[in-house]
Symmetry: none
Subunit: 248 residues, 2 copies
C-alpha cells in the first residue's frame, strides 16, 4: 500500500516515545463530547492527557501541567482561542494544534499566523487528530532533539540520536531515515526481542499496512551497513520464530 509520507529527520513513533517518557497533551475544548472522545483516543496512543474547558483555565493548567503539546479549540467561552494561543506562545515553544469550526479559511490563516503548528477543521476524525498530534510532536522532538535524544554506545558502535548519525570502528556510517529509526529503536531497547510486527508499530507510521517482510529487508540493509560480517551479525541478532533483537 501507500507507505505513508515520512519526512526526513523524523525521529520515532509516538508509541516509542510513550515507552521512554510519557508525553503530555493539554486539551482545551468546551464541548464535553468532543473533549472526552479526543481524550480517550490520545490516551490510547499512550499520552498523558489533561482537559480544560475554558481559556483562562487553559493558561492555568498550562503552567501547572507543562504539556508537550496543546490541542486548542478556536471557539472558547471567556477567552478566545486566538488569544490563548498567543499567550502560550509568548512564554514557550510548546506546539499547538488548533481546532477550528467549519473550514473557514480565514480562521485557518489567522491561526497559523498566531503560531499554531497545525490545525484541524471540525468536523474532524479523532483519528486524524491523533495522527496530527503524533506528527507535530515528532517535529517538536526534533527541534529540541538534543534534550530528548541520547547517544547509545555499544563496543565500537555509536548511535547518536540527536545527530542521527552512526559511527563504526571504520568511521561514519550513512543510514537512511528508516534504517536509523529502526536501529535507534532496537538499540534503545537492547536485549529485548521484538516481533516484526512490533517493530512496524514502533518504527513505521500508524496507518502502515505493509508486509512484515519489509522489516526483514530493512534489517538486512542495516546489517550490510553496520555489521563487519553481515551473515554473522554481532549486533542485530535474529531470534528464530520470534523476530530480532539488538545484542548490547
Amino acid at each position: 500500500m501507500c507507505p505513508g509520507s515520512r519526512r526526513m529527520g523524523e525521529v520515532i513513533g509516538a508509541d516509542t516515545m510513550a515507552a521512554m517518557a510519557e508525553q503530555k497533551v493539554l486539551i482545551v475544548e468546551d464541548e464535553p463530547m468532543v473533549a472526552e472522545v479526543v481524550e480517550r483516543y490520545l490516551r490510547r496512543d499512550g499520552y498523558q492527557v489533561q482537559t480544560v474547558a475554558s481559556g483562562p483555565a487553559a493558561l492555568d493548567e498550562f503552567s501547572r501541567f507543562r504539556p508537550d503539546l496543546v490541542v486548542l479549540d478556536l471557539m472558547l467561552p471567556g477567552l478566545d482561542g486566538r488569544e490563548v494561543c498567543r499567550r502560550i506562545r509568548a512564554r514557550s515553544q510548546t506546539p499547538v494544534i488548533m481546532l477550528t469550526a467549519r473550514s473557514d479559511e480565514v480562521d485557518k490563516l489567522v491561526g497559523l499566523e498566531l503560531g499554531a503548528d497545525d490545525y484541524v477543521t471540525k468536523p474532524f476524525s479523532p483519528r486524524e487528530l491523533a495522527a496530527r498530534v503524533k506528527a507535530v510532536l515528532r517535529r517538536a522532538v526534533d527541534r529540541r532533539s538534543e534534550l530528548d535524544t541520547e547517544v547509545l554506545q555499544f563496543d565500537r558502535l555509536r548511535v547518536d540520536g540527536a545527530a542521527r548519525s552512526v559511527e563504526d570502528e571504520r568511521g561514519r556510517v550513512q543510514l537512511t531515515a528508516r534504517e536509523f529509526d529502526l536501529l535507534y529503536y532496537l538499540a534503545g531497547h537492547a536485549g529485548h526481542v521484538f516481533t516484526r510486527n512490533q517493530l512496524m508499530d514502533a518504527v513505521w507510521d500508524y496507518e502502515f499496512a505493509g508486509d512484515a517482510s519489509t522489516v526483514t529487508v530493512h534489517v538486512r540493509r542495516l546489517r550490510a551497513k553496520i555489521e563487519a560480517d553481515p551473515s554473522r551479525p554481532r549486533y542485530l541478532k535474529t531470534v528464530w520464530g520470534m523476530g530480532y533483537k539488538f545484542e548490547p
Copy 2:
C-alpha cells in the same frame, strides 16, 4: 507461531498470505453489494470471512465464529451498530472497525466512544478498508503477546521473558521459540501440574489438533538443554499418570 494449523485442501487466497495463520473477520453489513465487495477483498488478502446482515445475527455469529476482527456497519436494521459494538466490547477485546455513512462526524465520535479501534467512512475504497484491517489486526496481535514479560529465577536457572533468553550455571542456553514458550509457561506456574493437553492449549495455537506426544518430545528437548542430568531432571518433573510440572 502456528504449527500444523494449516488445513489441507483449503484454497489459500493470495500466495503471499499462505505463510500466515488464517485470521477471521466478521463483516456486519446489510447492503449486499458492499458486503460482497468487502468480503471478496478480504478473502483475497487471505482472511477467513463471514458475513451477516443484522445486529442480532452479528452477535450470534460473533459467539460462534469467534472472529479476530469485526467490520461493523453503523447503520443496521433491527439493532443499531452502536449497540452491537457495545455488546461485543462488553465480552471481548476483539477489535472493531466501524463503517459510517458519509462523514457524519457525530457518528464517528460516538463510534469511538464505544471502543471501535478504527472507522472508515462511506464511500470507501475496499483497498483502504483492507489496509485498515491489516493494520488494526497487527496492533491487536502485538498487544496480546507483549503483555506479561517477567524474569523468572530458580536456583541457577534464569528465564528472561523480554529477552527470551535462558541462563544456566553453565551460561546461556539456546532454546527454540517453542521450547522457550513451553518453559516460560511451566516456570511461570511453577509447582503446578499440567496434563499434556493443558500444555498444548496453553502453549500451542488454539486450533492445533496434534497429539499429545508432541509435548512429550518438547519436554525431552528442553530437558536435554537445561537439565544437568536429563534422565534425572531437577526442574522439569514428570508426574506419572498426569503430565509435567516445573519444580521451583
